[in-house]
Amino acid sequence: MTVFDLNSDSVRALNQHLHDASSDYLTVKNPAGRHCIACGVDSAVEVSIDGHVGYYCAGMNKKAQVTIAGNAGPGVAENIMSGTVRIRGNASQYAGASGRGGTLIIEGDASARCGISMKGVDIVVAGSVGHMSAFMAQKGSLVVCGDAGDFLGDSIYEACIYVRGKIGELGADCIEKEMTAAHLDSLAQLLTSTGVDANAKEFRRYGSARKLYNFNVDHADDY
C-alpha cells in the first residue's frame, strides 16, 4: 500500500503517481479540502482518501475505485467515465456532472445540480439532492433515497430518476412515469450493488415527457 500525505506531498505528485500506476492500493492523508485530488486516473487502482476534499476530486475517473472518507467540494467525479467514486459524507454542487459511465455513490446529501447533464453515469444518493438536479440529463440513473429540491430533471432528454422522498417542483418536461417491473428490477440491482439500504418499491420514477426535444411533425410549421 502506498501512502501520500498531502501535508508534505503535492497533489501533482499524487496524481502523477496515479497516472503512472497500473494497479495499486493507495491512501491519501490530510486532503484538507485541496482541489483535484485523484483526477484523471485511468487504471484499476483503489484510492482511499482520509478526509474532506475540495473541487473536482476524482474528475474524469476511469476504472479506479475512489473512496472519500469525508465531504466532497464542488464537481466531484465530474465527467466520470467508469469505475466507482464513493463519498462517505456530503457532496457539494454539480456532483457527477456530465458523467458518461461508472457509478457515483453519495452516502450523505448532495447539494444543487447533482448529475447535471449526466450522460450515462449511475448516481446513488443515500440522502437528499438540491435544486436543479439531473438538469438536461441524457442517459444513466439518478437515485435519491431522500428528497429532491426544486426543478428536478429540468429539460431532461433521457435518463431515469428515482426518488423515495418528497420532491419540490418538477423541472420543465420532467414527469412522473410508471415504475415498470424492468425499472424496479434495475433500481433494486443498483441499490444492492452500491450497498445502499433502501427498498426499491418505495421509490417513484421520473423521466422525460419528450415534448421539449423531440421533433413533432404536427408542429413542423413552428420550427
Binding site: N71, S92, G130
Partner: protein, 298 residues
C-alpha cells in the same frame, strides 16, 4: 471569483488567537482573490459615551497631528492607534459628531467603519502581504470576517476592496456579481445613501444600510435583498455580536460552514476552515440557497 472567510469564537479563551486564525484562513483563500484583501474585526467594544472609527489615508499621514486637532476641536479624549495605512480612533464623543467633523475638516480621509467594536482594514495586494502589513497575528477579537478579492467588474483599489461598512458595527463581504447595481445605486443615492465607488458590492452594502435605516431588522433586510438584488452572491455580514450568511437562490457561489464547541466558521471553501483547531470534530454543512443564517452572542 473571490474568497470569503468568517469566524466567530464561542470560547472566549480563544480571543487572543483570533487574528492568527483569521490570517491562516485568509491566506488559504489567496487563489480565489489575489488582488486585494480585507478584514472586519470586532473587539474591545467602547463605552456608550464613546465611539470607534477606522480611518484610511491613501498617502503618508500625520496621525498624531490629527489626534491632537480632533481632541481640541471636539473637546474630547481621543485615542488613536495606527495600523499600516489605517488608524483606529476612539473618541469620547457621539459618533455622528465625529463623522461630521471628519468629513468637514478632513475629506482626504476615508471612514472605513464606525461603531463601538468594529475595525475594518483593507488594502490592494496579495493576502499574504496584507497579513504581514497589518500584523494580523497580533490582533485579538471576538469575531471577524475576511475577504480576498479577484476583481471582475470594477477597478483594483483599496476603496473597491471589501469589507464595506453598512452602518454602525455592520459590514458586508461579497463573492459574486450583481447585475442590477447601476439602477439600484441611483435609487439608493436618491434615498440619501452615500455610495462612493462603481463597485457592485458597495451597492449591496448601501442597500442593507438603507433598509436598516428604514427600520428593517438585519434578517428582514436580508429577506428583502433576495427580491431586490439580482445576480450571484454569497454574502457574509458582520454584526456587533456575530455574523450572518446569505446565498442567492441559484447558489452558484460556494459556501461552507462548520461548527465546534469552540467556534463557528464560514468560508468559500473548506480548505480555509481546515486551518482551524479541532476541525476534525466539526459539524460541517453547506448553507442552503435563499436562507438567512445568523450567529451571535445573545
Amino acid at each position: 471569483m473571490c474568497g470569503i472567510v468568517g469566524i466567530f469564537l464561542k470560547n472566549e479563551g480563544l480571543q487572543p488567537e483570533l487574528g492568527r486564525l483569521l490570517a491562516a484562513m485568509l491566506i488559504e483563500m489567496s487563489d480565489r482573490g489575489p488582488d486585494s484583501a480585507g478584514i472586519a474585526l470586532y473587539r474591545d467594544p467602547v463605552a456608550d459615551s464613546s465611539c470607534k472609527l477606522t480611518l484610511h489615508s491613501a498617502e503618508q499621514y500625520d496621525w498624531d497631528a490629527l489626534r491632537t486637532e480632533m481632541a481640541a476641536s471636539l473637546q474630547a479624549d481621543v485615542k488613536l492607534d495606527v495600523h499600516a495605512s489605517h488608524a483606529v480612533v476612539i473618541a469620547a464623543a457621539q459618533v455622528a459628531s465625529v463623522q461630521d467633523w471628519l468629513r468637514a475638516q478632513h475629506p482626504e480621509l476615508r471612514i472605513m467603519s464606525a461603531g463601538s467594536a468594529i475595525e475594518i482594514y483593507k488594502e490592494k495586494g496579495p493576502p499574504r502581504e496584507f497579513v504581514k502589513q497589518f500584523k494580523l497575528h497580533e490582533l485579538n477579537g471576538s469575531h471577524a470576517l475576511g475577504h480576498t478579492r479577484m476583481a471582475t467588474e470594477s477597478a483594483v483599489t483599496t476603496e473597491h476592496s471589501h469589507p464595506f461598512s453598512t452602518g454602525m458595527d455592520l459590514c458586508l463581504v461579497h463573492n459574486g456579481s450583481l447585475s442590477n447595481h447601476n439602477r439600484l445605486r441611483q435609487k439608493l443615492r436618491g434615498a440619501g445613501v452615500d455610495i462612493q465607488t462603481d463597485n457592485d458590492s458597495e451597492v449591496a452594502a448601501g442597500y442593507l444600510m438603507w433598509r436598516l435605516r428604514e427600520g428593517d431588522s438585519l434578517e428582514e433586510a436580508l429577506q428583502r435583498a433576495l427580491t431586490d438584488l439580482d445576480g450571484f452572491y454569497t454574502f457574509a455580514i458582520g454584526t456587533k455580536d456575530g455574523f450572518a450568511v446569505l446565498r442567492d437562490p441559484i447558489a452558484c457561489k460556494p459556501a461552507v460552514m462548520a461548527e465546534t464547541d469552540e467556534w463557528v466558521a464560514m468560508a468559500s471553501e473548506f480548505r480555509a476552515i481546515a486551518q482551524l483547531p479541532g476541525v476534525e470534530n466539526a459539524t460541517i454543512w453547506e448553507p442552503l440557497p435563499a436562507t438567512v443564517y445568523t450567529w451571535g452572542r445573545s
